[in-house]
């Protein structure tokens, strides 16, 4: 008998999946009423969450994507960082004027800045929502020292339940809620344990 | 609560009070009489069975449950000067006897009318009258009373009516004192360390009196405080409410 057979035999008869699904769904009925306060204005709540100590993200707001390169240059200059960054193979990047910045051919392994487009943002927690795709590699978002994330205001949702994409399940779906951090040594908080030490959100619209 | 003013209640005095500090039992009688109760002290009482229950000896604990249910069920109410003992009767007797068709309902009935004394007095709207105690006191919430019976505000309301008594908050008032019944004799070193922290917190309040609703906790905390050379004196809350805090504190010759 395989381990699978033995375990399933031990766990007993399997009930009708449709019945189970209905029971599972019923267990969430009324759940919205129990969520911690979500705040009124989506943008205000989102920005307030970005400012939480455990999130520690900075932000800027621009009217349109055309202003993005300028906003990035400005951010890097203000931080005293090199005017260089890695850009994802996203169509939106192509149409913009990056002449003020050095475009890195390869994603830096440690130092350096990386740009990414978040598909959505969650106001409840200040989370940025990503999925993998040919236009959106995953690794650069964790390798960079500085993570610069572009988010359209229209992509803001209130609750985590609204974060998942509809349709087919992506290879990886992930939420970034602030800078990498650890309290593993004597409980002292340190930023940039392995992931990015800096997170800058550029809100568009 | 819909108990008539002149109710006939049974006092379940508890084995610790009986053997170690009878004053608590007499204070209970005094307060209950003042509250208009006719009090009976069932002769056959010994112990609620908690030591057996917490040691895993379920058979003995269940036997004690049956005996005590039979002894107590004829009274309108059972009042207990201990949160852990009241909790044993109220919460654990029904669970111990749930599968016994002859006893399950009887256990439920007794559980429903068993009360920790401070909760009982507060629910009846009784307040000590003409009881004065010029002192600064701090209060420890014993775990069973707090978490099994919801005893929190009641003792503070009752003590609020004692003239001259200044109640100051205890940091970590809901943190276990380390008594834990059989725990303090089975794992004395750990119990001792926990009690040390509790005593330090009590001393830090600047209060001269330590009050609580469970004698085991009080003996543990007072014993630790005295060993540390502290001046803090400990009483069971019911002693204060009955105007008997002018007598010997815990550990002083009775």
């Amino acid at each position: 008998m395989s381990a699978r057979d033995a375990i399933l035999a031990r766990l007993g008869p399997v009930r009708d999946p449709a019945v189970l699904a209905a029971e599972a769904a019923a267990l969430l009925a009324g759940e919205e009423r129990e969520r911690p306060a979500g705040g009124e204005d989506l943008v205000a709540r989102f920005l307030a969450q970005l400012g939480q100590p455990s999130v520690a993200a900075t932000h800027a707001r621009i009217g349109s994507l055309a202003e993005l390169p300028g906003a990035v240059s400005g951010y890097l200059a203000a931080e005293g960082a090199e005017p260089a960054l890695w850009l994802p193979p996203d169509a939106r990047v192509a149409g913009l004027d990056w002449s003020g910045l050095t475009r890195l051919a390869d994603c830096p392994i440690d130092d350096g800045a990386v740009l990414a487009f978040a598909r959505a943002g969650v106001a409840e927690t200040g989370s940025l929502v990503f999925e993998t795709s040919p236009e959106a590699p995953m690794l650069p978002n964790f390798l960079a020292l500085r993570h610069i994330v572009v988010l359209e205001v229209a992509g803001l949702v209130r609750w985590l339940e609204d974060a998942a994409p509809g349709g087919a399940v992506p290879r990886a779906h992930y939420w970034v809620t602030g800078v990498s951090g650890t309290t593993d040594i004597e409980g002292t908080y340190v930023r940039g344990a392995h992931g990015p030490r800096f997170l800058h959100v550029v809100l568009v619209g | 609560m819909t108990i008539a003013p002149s109710s006939r209640v049974a006092l379940f005095v508890t084995c610790l009070v009986d053997a170690m500090r009878p004053r608590v039992g007499f204070a209970a009688l005094r307060a209950l009489a003042d509250a208009g109760c006719e009090v009976v002290v069932p002769e056959a009482q010994t112990c609620c069975g908690q030591p057996a229950l917490n040691s895993g000896d379920r058979a003995t604990a269940t036997d004690f449950a049956r005996r005590n249910v039979a002894m107590l069920e004829s009274y309108e109410a059972i009042v207990v000067p201990s949160g852990s003992c009241a909790g044993t009767i109220r919460c654990h007797y029904p669970e111990l006897l749930a599968d016994d068709p002859q006893w399950a309902a009887r256990a439920e009935a007794v559980a429903a009318k068993t009360w920790e004394i401070l909760a009982w007095l507060d629910a009846r709207g009784w307040r000590p009258e003409g009881v004065a105690l010029e002192a600064r006191a701090t209060y420890h919430d014993s775990c069973s009373g707090l978490r099994e019976l919801g005893i929190k505000a009641q003792p503070r309301r009752l003590l609020g009516a004692v003239d001259g008594l200044d109640l100051v908050p205890l940091a970590g008032e809901e943190t276990c004192c380390g008594f834990g019944g059989t725990f303090c004799v089975k794992y004395p070193a750990i119990s001792n360390a926990i009690a040390d922290e509790k005593a330090a917190a009590v001393e830090a309040t600047g209060a001269g009196l330590l009050l609580a609703g469970d004698l085991g906790c009080l003996m543990n905390m007072a014993g630790k405080l005295h060993r540390r050379g502290s001046d803090v004196r400990a009483f069971h809350t019911i002693e204060v409410l009955a105007g008997m805090a002018d007598g010997p504190a815990i550990g002083e010759a009775q």
């Binding site: 267990l27 985590l160 | 725990f183 750990i190 926990i194």
Partner: protein
């Protein structure tokens, strides 16, 4: 009390440094959780719902496992099943061998610890890189985790500094925690990116989509699981939830209960290996579903324990844990949840102290985000221990004698009179030394009883 437990407890209580570390970690976590939960009025209702969700899954575990397996397989992952810890380790080692792996990168997994995976990899000659900072520290120190969220909480900065100076290629120069963390970042980066296999646990397994959810705050998980050719997940079968929305409900409770944050920094849902067009991701994804006693726990009265979402709140609030720290428990899991699990995983006879070394104060149950009745489960172990005759003879006979007397009121009264007289021989007020009660009077004074018991005085007419 077993000699081994005794010795560990004594060592822990004597360790001043440990106490400082425990207060700094668990004490801070208690305070932060308090703020987060204090700001959540519906916490009580939310945790009742979470308990109901987990109970539903556990009651229908077979169905959800089958559903998960189908969905995960459809996404391209390979699902394996392991009844025992050894089986699980063998499967992992075999996958590593087939992949020609010389080194594996591990992100933190208590389940991996439970099944003995570090040892199995070592025995198979496979290099292991622990990428979670705390796990890295204890790997260097050759120790086991002492907390499920902060495995290296027992280490001081000096101890960490010494380890890093000895073992890092480019250790920190400045003696600061920031510099030490940077040293670890440097040391582990290349190893993470160069590993052949990445091994993780799972916080949740999403049944309807086959997704594996990991929750971390360092970013080491993603860096160890995305670059390698092979990603192996080892997960306890109880980690299932029906859907993403159910997971979200539990995630809200998890982070707040563990650290007081609304959410941890990285919440990632993986569904299978790299797809056509992806720039990164593993070529193979394996999920090892591990039973290791869980189905037995479910049938043996421990179903509620399987609700556990590994937040650590119970231990952070436990007065016993706060004095003795995690290693004293002697098993993979410490604190209240460890005291329930360890007898199930490693046997009751060797671990009967754990459910007994508890004051039954109930704080653990009060803070548990899935309302596990921990004191009840601990009492259950005490009852089993009693039935199996594992309790010490002195306790059994002492309790037996007391119970025999207490059933006979007249005899009991006589016994009480005798005991009072005996105690009063040692003193009339505070007693500093009471024979046969050295456990008490070793550390505290004992208040002498009055000359007569309440029942005797009452019978004589005193009111």
């Amino acid at each position: 009390m077993s000699r081994a437990f005794d010795a560990r407890v004594d060592a822990a209580l004597a360790d001043r440094q440990l106490k400082i570390a425990v207060e700094r970690t668990a004490g801070t976590a208690e305070a932060k959780r308090g703020v987060a939960i204090g700001a959540w009025p519906s916490f009580g209702a939310a945790r009742e719902r979470a308990a109901a969700i987990k109970d539903h899954v556990i009651a229908n575990l077979g169905a959800y496992l089958v559903q998960f397996e189908a969905a995960a397989t459809a996404s391209g992952a390979t699902v394996h099943w392991a009844q025992t810890a050894d089986e699980a380790c063998s499967i992992v080692v075999e996958i590593c061998r087939k992949a020609g792996a010389k080194s594996v990168a591990r992100s933190k997994s208590m389940l991996g610890e439970e099944i003995g995976l570090p040892h199995a990899l070592e025995a198979a000659g496979i290099g292991r890189v622990e990428t979670d900072l705390a796990e890295h520290i204890i790997q260097l120190a050759g120790e086991r985790p002492s907390h499920i969220i902060w495995p290296a909480m027992h280490k001081t900065r000096e101890q960490v500094s010494e380890l890093f100076h000895a073992r890092h290629r480019e250790p920190h120069v400045e003696e600061s925690i920031v510099a030490m963390a940077a040293s670890a970042r440097r040391q582990l980066r290349g190893e993470m990116l160069g590993a052949d296999v990445g091994i993780s646990g799972a916080n949740f397994l999403i049944a309807d989509s086959g997704q594996v959810c990991t929750v971390t705050n360092e970013g080491n998980a993603e860096l160890s699981l995305v670059p390698p050719r092979v990603h192996i997940v080892t997960a306890g079968i109880e980690k299932l939830v029906p859907s993403m929305d159910h997971a979200v409900h539990l995630l809200r409770l998890l982070a707040r209960s563990a650290t007081g944050a609304a959410l941890t920094q990285y919440t990632t849902f993986y569904a299978g290996p790299k797809r056509a067009g992806d720039h990164d991701g593993p070529e193979e994804m394996h999920i090892v579903l591990v039973d290791n006693g869980r189905s037995a726990m479910r049938d043996d009265g421990l179903a509620e324990m399987l609700r556990c979402i590994r937040c650590g709140a119970c231990m952070n609030h436990c007065v016993v844990f706060r004095q003795i720290g995690g290693h004293a428990y002697g098993g993979t899991y410490p604190g209240p949840m460890g005291s329930v699990l360890t007898p199930a995983l490693d046997g009751l006879a060797a671990n009967r102290d754990l459910p007994n070394a508890c004051t039954m104060n109930g704080k653990c149950q009060e803070v548990c985000p899935v309302a596990i009745p921990l004191p009840t489960l601990l009492r259950g172990w005490r009852e089993k221990s009693w039935r199996e005759g594992l309790e010490p003879v002195t306790l059994r006979s002492g309790l037996g004698l007391w119970a025999w007397a207490a059933r006979r009121p007249w005899l009991y009264r006589a016994g009480v009179r005798w005991a009072i007289r005996a105690m009063r021989l040692a003193g009339r007020g505070w007693i500093a030394k009471l024979p046969f009660a050295g456990g008490w009077t070793g550390g505290r004074d004992f208040p002498a009883p009055a000359a007569e018991s309440f029942m005797d005085r009452y019978r004589k007419g005193e009111r």
